[in-house]
Symmetry: C2
Subunit: 484 residues, 2 copies
């Protein structure tokens, strides 16, 4: 299969999908901090691993598509790996609401077409996967680019070894040949038939095509998505002070359905090019897939954290500080976080997503929000809360500052327990060292900054009759948050 | 069976067993706050229910035997029911270490003999039981007193309906007749045989005998226990300012074995008098017995707290604030507390005790200590702790005061979030209202008192390089704690 010279010099733009709800990994993964930010199999997050993998392909740019609430978390993740990125040109596309992969890929195609031309090739990379063997990966992407030169969508498949019902299946063909069919999430019987036939691959979620081909496919199979996405892009805007961060228009975006690329496009499209993914690939979809990565003791129990077992076998326990005791139980997944606990059968791992769904309907915060919240200046963790008092631990990064703000209803006591802070309290500006404290009465403007080179940690005790997060007037903010 | 006039006018002294580890109800019940203090089936604790039940018998006195760490908790419990106690004469016997029921009953027998004469009748009442039908209970105790008039130990039995291996079994006889045999905790096969035969009762743990008869039985079957207990009593002392509180000598007590009355005495004694307990009786021994008291939803799930279920049936969930999600699991007991979590099979409820045992060996605090600790002045709860900082919520009762104290290594910041405190900080004494705060540097003497009529709640942020509870110098204490 030959490619013209022009085709060979098409820009390559990996599009990293870093949004989603990751509900099947609840309660560790939540909408406010989904799977891509988890540190699995190594010290780097799944997102960092994916960005570095993409950067190694020497692309013309990298686009990261994520939920707008995750924007500052993406900044942090990228900052950590900046020395390794070697000047790769990064763009961030912010989705105002989670809408699954079809709208994300469609928006990325339009964005890439506008920025790099319609001939630019999008390499769609989910970030909830573990991939080894970078050289094989790069070679496989090169073959996919060959296939895409024929103006087709190349889809990467890996041999289907078990009848998973959560994957898409593509007919196994020689590299670059037409994929005979694409079936997303078959039922158990069909999946068993696929595996038995030996002629099907799992779709890895990785695909490659030019912006033009993708746009044409959306126009044919999902014109509504194309129209709404285009409108969200036209009416969207760049983030103040961050030329490479683009926020889709909230209202236009809200009209989009929540649907995956596989359902909206790949299952309907004809002439997909099947490309064999021969590198080591693992989807991080459920707790079962995660537990496959952990070492077990002689009774088959896998533990991250503190646990004690009595007559318990083959359990996966992950605990964030608290002690977990398991007695007379088998094949359970036990995941404990500061505000929510999961106890599930390993067979039911795929049903975990239904919990977050139920909680979202009930508007339970634990469904989507973590106890520790990331902000551009660092993090805060709610340690304790009742009607009269709320206690937070603030961790402020070196060089960072919270907004200059005031609260109408609550007073705040700050005690510095690590580092040295620069504080504005009313008209005074002063330093607060470890062990020192200050009190900010209601109505008084204030700010914490960290002029030092290590984190500042402050215990904040709020008192007052109303302690909601919305009692805040931002007077000045270096992260552009005074308007919202 | 006749009783002499002297026998009929023997003093009656209920002895309430309120110690123990309650390890099979871990993590809710722990050595520092065992089962008797749990609020089950009503607003009153098991201890309060038992004390009121005993008081209704119009006894000459009531003795409560408990661990010395629980002393101030017993005070609190009794204070709450003081209006209902109607002047019942209460004594508290403090055990320096948990040693099960044989040493406790032996100590109580010697104590009662000394205070009320050898002819006084001890009514031994475990406090980890639910009993209904007070009139039937009183009538049954009257029959037991008749039986004890023949200088025997009366043991109360209730029909054995299932082959429980955790109970003692006594041959079922007419009231007051010799119990043919007493078998403590038989194996499963023997228990099944007992139940099938229809001739056995469960021992309720309630028994009645004169101090003299008990002492003689100990002399015959457990002379070591009698000797060590006598020595602990002779060398023990009354608590300063509390004439009715007697603390056994620590060193003598330490020599005692940890053994139940049933094993040490009842199984060996001849001529026990079997008395039928015809009142509603339920042992609160394991999570299974507790779950029998809770209402279930249509899927058989029982919940105290916040929970969400997906394909989950017949589970018992108890949670203290955190959200619990159960997916695809059956017949589990899930008990969540601020610092420890239990996930167990309902079939393995009796094995829960082995967790606390393991933790005690490993010296894990969660094995025996709760996150909220009771003190004579109120409670403190550790909200958060790391190497640089420890945050506590102090709740000080009206009229109470902490000791005048100082710390060598840590500083403390206090913020009042409820009530108004009187504070000594160095040479100054002042009031702190809600929203106000003060800082106590290391080495500075300080005290919090609550002069008001409602609780004072203070958030204490400790900073320093050493934050252990033993960094305390008590200068003055109204609860007699300056020496230890």
């Amino acid at each position: 299969m030959g490619a013209t010279l022009a085709q060979r010099f098409r820009p390559l733009v990996p599009v990293i999908l870093a949004g989603g709800r990751g509900e099947r990994l609840w309660p560790v993964s939540r909408e406010s901090r989904p799977k891509p930010f988890l540190r699995i199999a190594g010290e780097r997050s799944l997102l960092q691993q994916t960005v570095l993998r993409a950067a190694a392909l020497m692309p013309d740019a990298i686009v990261i598509a994520t939920h707008e609430e995750c924007c500052f978390q993406v900044f942090e993740e990228l900052e950590e790996i900046a020395p390794q990125l070697d000047g790769a040109f990064l763009h961030i596309l912010l989705e105002p609401e989670t809408r699954d992969t079809a709208p994300a890929v469609c928006a990325a195609a339009l964005y890439v077409a506008r920025s790099f031309g319609k001939q630019a090739e999008l390499l769609v990379l989910p970030s909830d996967q573990l991939i080894d063997e970078q050289a094989k990966f790069a070679a496989c992407i090169a073959r996919a680019r060959e296939a895409a030169a024929a103006e087709r969508i190349a889809v990467l498949g890996t041999p289907a070894s078990t009848p998973q019902t959560g994957f898409g299946y593509i007919a196994r063909e020689s590299d670059g040949r037409d994929a005979g069919s694409f079936v997303e999430k078959p039922d158990r019987r069909l999946a068993e038939h696929f595996v038995a036939s030996g002629r099907y691959d799992w779709h890895t979620g990785i695909c490659l095509a030019t912006a033009e081909v993708l746009e044409a496919a959306f126009a044919q199979h999902a014109p509504d998505i194309l129209a709404a996405t285009r409108s969200a892009l036209i009416r969207g805007r760049r983030l103040a002070g961050h030329a490479q961060v683009f926020r889709m228009d909230r209202e236009a975006w809200a009209a989009l359905p929540e649907i995956s690329l596989d359902y909206a496009l790949l299952e309907k499209a004809t002439g997909l090019a099947a490309v064999r993914a021969d590198f080591a690939w693992q989807d991080i979809g459920t707790w079962t897939s995660l537990s496959a990565l952990a070492a077990a003791d002689s009774a088959g129990n896998q533990v991250e954290g503190k646990a004690v077992f009595v007559n318990a076998r083959n359990n996966y326990v992950q605990s964030d500080g608290r002690l977990v005791a398991a007695v007379g139980v088998q094949n359970l997944v036990i995941v404990d976080t500061p505000d929510a606990l999961l106890v599930g059968s390993q067979d039911a791992a795929a049903d975990v997503g239904r919990i977050a769904e139920q909680l979202r309907r009930r508007r339970e915060e634990a469904g989507f929000q973590h106890r520790t919240v990331h902000r551009p200046w660092g993090t805060f963790t709610v340690l304790c809360e009742d009607e009269h008092c709320k206690i937070k631990r603030l961790r402020v990064k070196p060089g960072a500052a919270l907004s200059l703000q005031l609260h109408r209803h609550r007073g705040e006591h700050w005690v510095v327990v690590e580092g040295e802070a620069e504080v504005i309290n009313g008209d005074a500006t002063f330093r607060l060292k470890r062990h020192q404290s200050t009190y900010i009465p209601p109505g008084c403007r204030h700010r914490i900054a960290n002029p030092g080179t290590r984190d500042v940690v402050i215990i904040e005790t709020q008192t007052g009759d109303y302690l909601g997060e919305d009692d805040i007037v931002r007077l000045e903010d270096r992260y552009g948050r005074t308007q919202h």
